[in-house]
Every structure is written in C-alpha cells, then in structure tokens.
C-alpha cells in the first residue's frame, strides 16, 4: 500500500511535466490570480495584524517593578515589564549550578528570617525579583519537600541543593513510571530522552518565551483559518461559476491544471504562514530577547524528560506549523474538489481545527490518538513537545510529535491526490 502510494505521488507530481516551462507559467498565472483576489489581500492584512498583536499578548502577566523617587512602587507591564525583568534576571545568567541555586535559596532564607513574609518592596525588587525564575524552578520541582510556594524554599538545606539535579532525576523517573509503567517500551524511550537533558540548566532571562512558544499555535491557527478560506474557493468557485466547463474541455484542464492549482494554493498558504511567522518571530525577539531561547524547557515544565531548549521547541513548533498549514490547505482543497459551495470545506476544516484544540480536554486515549492523526493535529504540537504521550505498536513506542509530524506530512500528498482525483471526476449535475 505504501509503495503504491509513493509511486502515485511520484507519478502525479514529479515524473509528469510539472516543472516544464509551460507549467511554471501556468503556476505563475495561478499565483497571480489568487494574489489579485481582494479576499486574499484582506486575509493577509488581517493575519499580519494578528501576528503583530500576539507577541504583546505573551507579555500579559509579566510585571516589572520600579521604585519611584517618591518611594512609591510602580508596576510595569507589557514591553516595559519584560524589559525590566530581563535587566533584573541578567544577574543570574549562566549555568544554574547548585552553587548558584544555593545562593538564591540562602538569600531568600536570610531575608525571610529578617523580615518574615513582609519583605520591603525595595529589597524584594533588588534581591528576590532577579532570582524569581530560579526560585520557581526549585519550588516547581518540590522534590519531596511537600510544600509549594516560596515557603517551600525555607525547608531546603545546602545538602538538598547540592543534590538538586540528582533529586530531579529521581523525581522524573518516578513520574515516568507513574505515567508509562516501568516496563513499557515508551518508558524506555522516555528514560533515554530524560538522560539527554543537559544539567546544570543554562539560565537566561526567558520571561515570555514559554508563552511565546505556545502562541505559535495561534499563528498556525491564523494561517490555517486564512489558508482554508483561500483554498476552499479553488475548485468550488469554479464549479459554481461555470469556469470549470471551459477548463475541463481544454487539453490540460484536468490533472495538470488541478496540480498547478494545488501547488499554487499550497505556496500561498505556506507563504502566508511564513510571512506572519516572520513578523511574529521578529517581534518576539525584539520583546523577549534571543538569549531566553537557550533556556531548557524544564523551566516551564520541571519534570519533562524532553531534552529541548525553548529554541528547539520554537523551531519545531514553527516547522510543524508549516506542515500543518499545508496539510490543512491540502485537506480543504480536497473538500473543495468535492463540494460546489465553498462554505462546506471551510466549515469542515474549521470544525477539525476546533476539535483539535478541544482534544486536550478529552481523556479517552483513542480520541487522543485520533486527534494526533488528523491533518490539524500539528496546530497543538507545542503541548505535545513537553509531554510524554507515546503511540505503542508492539515493542515500538513512537513519541506523539513524531506521529503528528508523519501523519501531517502524509496528509499533504494524500489530500492533494484525492483533490486531483475528485476534480477530474467531478460530475456535472
């Protein structure tokens, strides 16, 4: 079956004359046609505006503090808040060795001993705020202390902190056994991954990056919404307007034209995604700084066994996003080749996207698996990159982001072939 599919893909896309000059010109015309549509321009402008807004949404909840000359506390938010935090956290940049961690805890314990819970603002801003991310890292692990919140730090001894990374390893192992069972192949894979996490963790001011990485899903969704809107019209509108009659009676009006239309639509959808991703990424780097990308994801998910930094997660989410946008566009093109009204392809594609976003709240394993193989699955890949969901087939355990990657990648040629087939076989009613 796989062999047959690969032969089909090869024959339909490559061994034909798709790259001949005539086809390249046809592609240029088709691109010109799509880009001249008023709806394309409107969609592109809206998508770019949303891409400009999203990075600023990632700053929500990040506050900086400033003591004014009058002695009153000023809370900074948005870009100023992030900037203030970045400046403050630069104090601890470098490797989060047990020495550094103990310095943080000792400092807190000393201040707590002196002031109790009412540490003066000036001292809090100077001493605690720069160390808050590291304090949260230690607290988030809890590591058997049984207390959450900064109070948990009071129970730590220097010895605990010297063994911080060993204690974390133990906690991760326990977590994996609890989640995957100790003997499963998934457990073995996850354990191998956990072994690759580099310790001590590298620390940079990374405020905002976890949210910014997560918001790539937003960029992907915007691109999918826009791509589906554009792709839904490709074949349906031709059926509606009757343009199909002229094209279908022409020599290249069937397979070759369908291929060109599909390639053009995928280029436009992919290009639109890359354009808004570029705007989003540049703004994120401007607001949050690029050094924060070097921080391991354990700062956001302490027990995650995945050996990635935020840079890895950002790049992987962005690449998966591109594949998902293309897969969803191909899927919409396939629907467009089946329906006369573009409303149906849009509705079905968007429904699929919404289902994907809701899938996180559904606990049934088969629903999760089903959602992983949908062409929209890559829109929620950010969460999967932290988690330890595995598809187990016999002794083979496949990490869910890999399942999502391959199913989405496969969806592009499969849906394209189906679109060509249904376009060529479309029966006039």
């Amino acid at each position: 079956m796989e062999q047959l599919l690969s032969i089909l893909v090869w024959r339909m896309f490559f061994s034909g004359s798709i790259w001949l000059e005539r086809d390249a010109i046809m592609l240029t015309f088709e691109l010109k046609r799509i880009l001249r549509l008023r709806s394309t321009i409107v969609i592109l402008i809206i998508a770019l505006l949303l891409a400009c807004v999203l990075p600023f949404l990632s700053t929500i909840g990040i506050n900086g503090y400033l003591i004014e000359d009058s002695g009153s506390l000023q809370i900074l938010s948005g870009y100023d808040g992030v900037k203030s935090r970045r400046e403050a956290e630069s104090t601890y940049e470098g490797l989060a060795t047990p020495d550094i961690l103990w310095q943080v805890i000792n400092n807190y314990q000393t201040l707590h001993a002196e002031y109790g819970d009412n540490i003066p603002n000036e001292i809090y801003i100077k001493e605690i705020v720069p160390a808050e991310t590291l304090m949260k890292l230690i607290v988030s692990g809890s590591l058997g202390q049984g207390q959450y919140g900064y109070e948990g730090l009071l129970a730590f001894t220097q010895e605990d902190i010297w063994n911080f990374y060993e204690l974390r390893n133990g906690a991760v192992e326990q977590y994996l056994i609890q989640q995957l069972g100790g003997n499963s192949s998934a457990y073995q894979v996850a354990k191998r991954m956990a072994g690759q996490v580099r310790v001590p963790f590298a620390f940079h001011a990374c405020q905002g990056w976890p949210t910014a990485c997560g918001n790539i899903s937003g960029i992907v969704m915007i691109a999918i919404f826009a791509g589906c809107l554009l792709s839904s019209r490709v074949f349906s509108v031709e059926y509606q307007s009757g343009a199909y009659l002229i094209l279908k009676s022409a020599k290249n009006g069937c397979q070759k034209l369908a291929k060109v239309k599909i390639v053009a639509s995928l280029i436009v959808s992919g290009g639109l995604y890359l354009a808004i991703l570029l705007v989003y990424s540049l703004l994120c780097v401007f607001i949050f700084g690029k050094d924060g990308l070097n921080v391991p994801i354990q700062f956001a998910s302490f027990l995650s066994p995945v050996p990635f930094t935020f840079r890895d997660v950002y790049i992987l989410s962005a690449c998966m996003g591109l594949i998902t946008v293309l897969a969803m566009s191909a899927f919409t093109l396939f629907l467009s080749s089946c329906f006369v009204s573009p409303a149906f392809p849009i509705a079905i594609s968007w429904f699929l996207l919404v289902i994907q976003q809701l899938s996180g709240s559904l606990s049934a394993e088969w629903i999760q698996l089903l959602c992983d193989i949908l062409p929209s699955s890559g829109s929620a890949v950010y969460g999967e990159l932290f988690r330890i969901n595995f598809l187990e087939i016999g002794n083979i355990a496949i990490w869910s982001p890999c399942v999502i990657f391959f199913t989405n990648l496969l969806a592009i040629p499969v849906c394209s072939i189906l679109a060509i087939h249904f376009y060529c076989c479309y029966k006039l009613k």
Binding site: M26, R36, S241, L245, S249, K251
Partner: protein, 286 residues
C-alpha cells in the same frame, strides 16, 4: 471531418435530459434549436467530453472521443452558456492563461491572444479586468477563449445571449467566416440568430432529435400556409382563438400585424415565406 453523436442518452436522477440522440455533423454551421430545458446544454457538455453519457458515444472520424482523451480536447473550442471568467484577470492575462490550459506554449498563446483581441475588437479592453466588462464584451472574451486553440470543432452554447443587436450582427458575420473549415454547433432558442447562418438545423424536444435538415427543408411544410394580416386591436382576441398565431407586431395606427398559419387563404391576408422560427413555434414548442 465528421463528428457523430451516436445514440446518446443521459439521465439525471431518473429524468432523461438527452434521449437516444443521433446526429452527424460535418464542416459548416449546425444550429441546435430547442426551448429551455430541451437538453441542449447537456448534449453540448457531452460533446465537449465534460460529461459522460449513460449510453451512446461521440465519434470523431469513427474514433470514440472518450478513448481519444487529450487529442480530442485539443480540437474543440467551447463557449458554455454560463461561463465564469476569472474576474480577477485582465482580458489579456485571462486569454494567455486559458491558452496555456489549452496546451499552447506561452509564446503561441500570447500571439494568438493578440490576434483574437484584434479580431474581436477587444484590444482596447486588453488591460481591463474581466469583472469590469459589459455583458457583451465578456461574451466576446468567451468567444475568444473558445477560438484560442484554433479548434476544428467549435461548440457555442447560447452565444448571443447578452449581445446587443450590433454585436449580434457582428457575431453572425464572424461565425460565418469561421465555419468554412470547421464544425460549428450553435445552440440557441433565439432562432433568428442562426437562421441565416446555419447550413443545417437540428431541433431538439424533450431530449430527442425532433427534426433535422436545412432551413428550406424544415420550413417546407409551412410553404403556402404562412400569412400576415393587419387586425384591429379589438378583434385580436377573437382572431387568436380562431387561428394559429405565430407572431404579432404592434403598429402606430392601433392595429396589429399578425403572422399566422392557415391551410387556406384568408381574406385580407398576404402570403409570406415561412421562416425557421415559424416552424419551431408551430411544431416543436411545447
């Protein structure tokens, strides 16, 4: 060149749109006449290989066009009744685009598009977007696209719809020139448009071929039976009840000039030469 429509039948959800239709076409203009819903468009879609018949076949020089595939499609030019010209294209862009779809090279397509724009007086509109064109100009663009590949078989479905009288006259002249070396099939329910042009006419009724022949052959049964008379408007109702009225024209003096069929001479009526429209109205309209 011979194109044979061979016992073609097409059904849609139990309704027969084309019913065992057989017709031989050769170079020249053939008019396909029928009222709305007679099955003309369905038949044309079948001839253009856009639609497959349930039974029967289309044969070009004895070869089944279904088996000919691309080589058949390179020989046809089709102007559908309702065709959606991509509105975002300028006229020249659209013609060049269609020429590529029709298998011409970019260079050939450009040259041919320029020629046809000149021929169809579209040159001034070459840079205008198709959505900004008048109905008649869009129709001319439609005709131009049908001619891009210099087709041997030209199928025109209601080509004069939306054209003003001047454009219609121009169209008739243009089609007359084109038909010398190719098969031209024109469907219409405006019989006068093709009467002067067509070498043969096929009349379609309820999906079937009701009659076929030259204009003279088809009008022959009405020779000596078609009359014209002037009737006062007050008498019109009574006259219409007693005679088979084909057409009437209102005059300034309060009378109607009535064209009608009658076996024998009627007092005051003058004999007129029957036209194709008379036959169609008399015999084939439901």
């Amino acid at each position: 060149m011979k194109l044979r429509i061979n016992h073609v039948t097409k059904q849609f959800q139990g309704k027969t749109a084309v019913d065992d239709f057989t017709l031989d076409l050769s170079c020249g203009i053939c008019g396909l006449i029928g009222e709305n819903g007679a099955g003309k468009t369905t038949l044309m879609n079948i001839i253009c290989a856009i639609m497959e018949p349930n039974t029967g076949s289309i044969l070009l020089e004895g070869l089944d066009v279904k088996k000919m595939g691309e080589s058949y499609r390179t020989q046809i030019g089709y102007l559908p009744q309702d065709f959606g010209v991509a509105p975002e294209f300028a006229v020249l862009d659209y013609l060049e685009y269609i020429s590529l779809v029709k298998g011409l090279t970019a260079k050939e397509g450009h040259k041919r598009s320029e020629e046809l724009m000149e021929y169809l007086s579209l040159h001034d509109d070459r840079k205008r977007r198709v959505c900004q064109l008048s109905g008649g100009t869009r129709r001319r663009v439609g005709i131009a696209q049908a001619l891009l590949n210099d087709p041997k078989i030209l199928i025109l479905d209601e080509p004069t719809t939306g054209l003003d009288p001047g454009e219609r006259a121009k169209f008739r002249q243009m089609i007359g020139n084109l038909a010398k070396e190719r098969i031209v099939l024109i469907s219409t329910h405006i019989v006068s448009d093709i009467e002067a042009l067509s070498t043969r006419n096929a009349i379609m009724k309820n999906g079937k071929l009701a009659a076929c022949g030259t204009t003279d052959e088809l009008t022959e049964p009405l020779l000596g039976k078609t009359w014209e008379i002037k009737i006062r408007s007050n008498d019109m109702e009574v006259f219409a009840k007693e005679h088979y009225v084909l057409n009437m024209r209102n005059s300034d003096d309060g009378t109607f000039s009535v064209r009608f069929i009658h076996e024998n001479a009627v007092h005051g009526a003058a004999p007129v030469h029957p036209c194709l429209e008379d036959v169609f109205l008399w015999k084939y309209l439901a």
